[in-house]
Symmetry: C2
Subunit: 767 residues, 2 copies
Amino acid sequence: MLKKSLLSTLTCSTVLLCAAQNKTAENLVQYVKPIIGTQRMGHTYPGATVPFGMVQLSPDTDTIPYEMNGKYNPDVYKYCAGYQYDDSTIVGFSHTHFSGTGHSDLGDFLIMPTVGALKLNPGTEADPASGYRSLFSHANEVAAADYYKVKLDSYNILAELTATTRVGFHQYTFPKSDSAHIILDLMHGIYNYDEKNVWTYLRVENDTLITGYRVTSGWARTRTVYFAMTFSKPFYQYDNTNYSKKTVYRGFWGKWDQSYNFPEIAGRQIRAYFDFKTEEGEKIKIKFALSPVSTTNALANLRTETPTWDFDAVKRQGQAMWQNELSKIIITTNSSAEKQNFYTAMYHAFISPTIYMDNDSTYKGLDQNIHTAKGFTNYTTFSLWDTYRALHPLFNIIQPKRNADMVQSMLAHYNQSAEHMLPVWSNSANENWCMTGYHAVSVVCDAIVKGNAPFDENKALDACIATSNHRSYEGIGYYIDNGYVPEDKSGSSVSKTLEYAYDDWCIAQAAKKLGRNDVYEAYLKRSENYKNVWDASIGFMRPKMSDRQFRKEFDPMRTIDEGFIEGNAWNYSLYVPQAPDTLIAMMGGKKKFTAHLDSLFTMELPDKYFAETEDITRDGIIGNYVHGNEPSHHIVYLYNFTDEPWKAQARVRQILPMQYKNTPDGLGGNDDAGQMSAWYIFSTLGFYPIAPASDQYWLGSPAIDAATLTLENGNIFTIKALNQNDRNVYVQKVLLNGKPLNRRYITHNEIMNGGELTFYMSSKHGK
Amino acid sequence: MLKKSLLSTLTCSTVLLCAAQNKTAENLVQYVKPIIGTQRMGHTYPGATVPFGMVQLSPDTDTIPYEMNGKYNPDVYKYCAGYQYDDSTIVGFSHTHFSGTGHSDLGDFLIMPTVGALKLNPGTEADPASGYRSLFSHANEVAAADYYKVKLDSYNILAELTATTRVGFHQYTFPKSDSAHIILDLMHGIYNYDEKNVWTYLRVENDTLITGYRVTSGWARTRTVYFAMTFSKPFYQYDNTNYSKKTVYRGFWGKWDQSYNFPEIAGRQIRAYFDFKTEEGEKIKIKFALSPVSTTNALANLRTETPTWDFDAVKRQGQAMWQNELSKIIITTNSSAEKQNFYTAMYHAFISPTIYMDNDSTYKGLDQNIHTAKGFTNYTTFSLWDTYRALHPLFNIIQPKRNADMVQSMLAHYNQSAEHMLPVWSNSANENWCMTGYHAVSVVCDAIVKGNAPFDENKALDACIATSNHRSYEGIGYYIDNGYVPEDKSGSSVSKTLEYAYDDWCIAQAAKKLGRNDVYEAYLKRSENYKNVWDASIGFMRPKMSDRQFRKEFDPMRTIDEGFIEGNAWNYSLYVPQAPDTLIAMMGGKKKFTAHLDSLFTMELPDKYFAETEDITRDGIIGNYVHGNEPSHHIVYLYNFTDEPWKAQARVRQILPMQYKNTPDGLGGNDDAGQMSAWYIFSTLGFYPIAPASDQYWLGSPAIDAATLTLENGNIFTIKALNQNDRNVYVQKVLLNGKPLNRRYITHNEIMNGGELTFYMSSKHGK
């Protein structure tokens, strides 16, 4: 058990000191390749952000409307993160982006520098010169942690971006021009549609400072984001155009001409511009701060976080923050591709949830009121159906302070909720109810079970219980009354039943820890509800109707309309993470179960079924195993409950290089707000949390030679994989702190206490 | 000089004590007839409000859209205050109303109780049963200070309203019904049009509490008002309908059915309802609080101001507040009509500006940020082109604390203004730039000159100077450069030139008082700019062009397109309140001037010209003298500068009963946020401030036998009009504190020091 000296911990209490301390350590930031996942389905973005930053300043390569002719426009999907690697133009740089999500929003406050004739529309990729967008090429593009650079070929402008937590910092190097423009497009957005912009407001405070806000009704139904924007050089004129229908009161009564250099405008569809005269090579810099609370707070954030105009210093500071986060796990491998994959996965895992409060700890709550986060940092962007599985468990190890803050953010959400529920998929003071389950429960209970709960644990458990008993929500009433969700009452009923049962088990585990035996008993019983959708006659989970009969029509290969969501019966039937042994017994015992798993990975999925799987490329599938969607993430580790655990090891080593590559198209599916990356990190380290809210991490096959986890409690946990390489993927034996580990999992405390886990690897599987 | 005892002042420091103290005094509230002015052009409303209250809870009798087929709908004009006496139906009761304005907005949060089949549209007056509106008759209607009662004939529901400063209190007495509804219409508004509702949000916190907000873009461009609403009895179900185009993200992904009893909704066009079962005679009460800041604050306002469900107690408290305000001037007259007119004028004068901050002193500022009013109460609803003339001077006498707070509110506005200007016509954290001039300057400087300036006077003067030098505003640049506003550059140029010149004189007076001689000199010079639009050849002020030539076409009888606004050259040419003597000299001396004034009152205005006068009925005009609009308000007192001052006396006594009657149609024009009423109060007392920012009040003819002004400084100023009656309108002599007053004005200090002003009245004019 190794313990870092207290002094060392303390001296690392600030980013700059850490950066200094890490000077002699390896630069890990160099391995971060934000471009990974920007092609095809990864839905990542290449722009600048600090860890968990409120600002994600990134290029948007097109502006696809969410609707075309009143109908959903499927092309919008690939622009979830605003950027598609294959595009040839950049529309501009906006300040908010989701990372890896399968639905979207945001894209606030697009900035675009241009020279020449003013164009206030974005134009089209087919005819870039018709608008303000610019051609670019990847040859002139650099995407790094908290730094993005690109040449805007249409204007001969070099664009550079960096960010602090709440401020996007732009640096544009202009050619000589008498007509240089900075466009601020308040209409732009991701998943935009005509009605999305509820209101925008812009205020020219003086010739270098602009403030304002944008209210949108998108995936977040009622979202306001405030900003303050400063220029390094005064503009000499400015104006805006309101593209929405004229509002009637404006020109009334021959009042003051408000069309030119008028310092405030409000409306639905506004684009503004600010004009400069530039010398060759002149840099115009912009600091653009956000706030969920007010323009006053945005300006305070700006002044607090970026007191100077030193772009390079801000970039250095941001990269030092990344170095600090990345160095929490130092891996040893002779593969630089592996390092790129690993640290990019760390990077993607540490982007969201995002900080959602100002420097004065105020934020907008779900009740649309301003709250102060007392004793915690408030976060948003909770893609919980994805992230409860591995991302939050990863945080409980390597980011326990942040994870506890995230739980407290969820409890604040609960307190502010009109439905009196924990979040499902929450973003920017809004709930979009996306996906199934009430998995905040898993995150809260995992934190309680693992002792990372610096809050009122009983109140937190009460919030879980209340959420799980909200009868009108997604079939919960039927679930409580019948023991399953009837498919004719609430769609995706099998997914719901299985996930509710797992979440209920989490409640039972937390209740047990808190000594609330009645809750434990009741929820342990509820956690067995998975049995009610098991059709033993066919060996699959299957949708059941209100009359307690299984639905007649059923195709276990189909993903859609069969009672599941983002998974078919082959995958989803295995979703009993809380009771693999029982599942295996139900499925006919270990041998049969092993064969079933084998088939899953080796069968051929006919093309007609692939077309139904969501969010993933063909590469995201191995046989009928769909790694690109989350319900399967624990499956490979279920081999641990059979007599052939080595199959888990082999499959993990098959999945890792297939699904995670260090290329723009390197992600087989959406990164899903870090869940895919968290799976990668766990699996690369050699273990995985099959069932969060248990303290067990089940062993796989470490894909690096060693890893050192520097924990917040000062302990160090080291993983060694002796003789590991691409062929030596099998674990012969495992020592924990030098003693044989006679089980197939390690516990949370074993990690958090520090120590050494040693895998002896071989090309042949052991027992 | 009489001084109230300190004890008496102190014991009157709370409303309730005052009410107690006044128990033995006459009930003045009985004379308040809010129905006065609700017919035709008065634009007053009959509903419930406390003095300067943030809530004005009043019935709206129709919902006329601001636009029809994309064009201004002139019928909207008569609904400026929501209520027209001649209407036969009531649509419902909304919480915000302007009093007496000539343009409008507001009408927020309409509540309507109904029984029977649910109707969610308002219906039409022609077919009331087609919607939720109800028939009513004036026979079943009571409108009093802070109390309104009406029988809703269509539903047999008795509606009663009262209010505190920030809370509207409804009491509905229902018949027995299994389907009683309370409708909350978030679409309703005054001067409504399709785009006005920017966004509304509604949240059912529990079965008696609703919160939410409404964002509008109307006369106030970007206005948000928050609410909290409680029912005295739980509703058993609720729902809402969103009448705007469907927003695309809602039904997505088969998510939770949000259509029935779903506790939150946001959208552009929402009507909600809450259902009850009622017994015969059962009362359902509603407390509805507003806030400019948040729903949290609205709820805090609700709990602070209306802690119980005692409707009668709230009404008593509100009427005690009115008694307290009204008793600041106790008049003696044997005419109960006179008392009704006088105390209704006091009532209308004490409605606006309105308090615009929460109980915790926070409010939304012009910069759309939340501010805290430190050391003052923040007000809004500044109709300054109207109210600088007599309302604010009246406040400097009888409401000095409030007037100083209003000035501080204007200075806060200045500090928050993107244009760095004092308010022109400001409302709810917005500026609508309505009407000419920069008359906040007059109000600020009047307060400084009169020593009612508990703020940084030099900063206040700087704000006046900055405002007066805003070159791009309404021709000010031309005015500064040329000494007048050229008509070809900025319309209503003569009105602007005259009003700027007067305002500049105000700056000079304040500068003189503050010892800033350079400012004094410069602005005294600017104040003479009225001379630059004087056409001696025709004896009228006349629009001048950029080439310094008078415009050729000119008709001094026309109100429109002749360089004036709300007045013709006959009236407006007399607008040199700062220098009547010079004006008289310019016009050929006292004799000629007197004849000119005589003609003004006696000439016949051909009908074709009347059609152009705005805001007034034919009764609002005497000859060519237009009392219903403000530019003439000082004119009658100009006789004091001639050798025939008694003509002022006679004309005042002619105007008073003609223009102010104790009937629904009793006001000859819009009450204009209290300015018309303030003229009435001053003139009835016997003096008038021709030029605010001077300390002089010029004498007229008191129309009551006596009046006692109880001043905030503890002094008492008494006016006696001996032998006064409808024939004895002429002043024979005047004593101030027993000594002959050998001038035609009294000064501010003479009033504020307390004392007695005695008029000796006669049927024959004196000297």
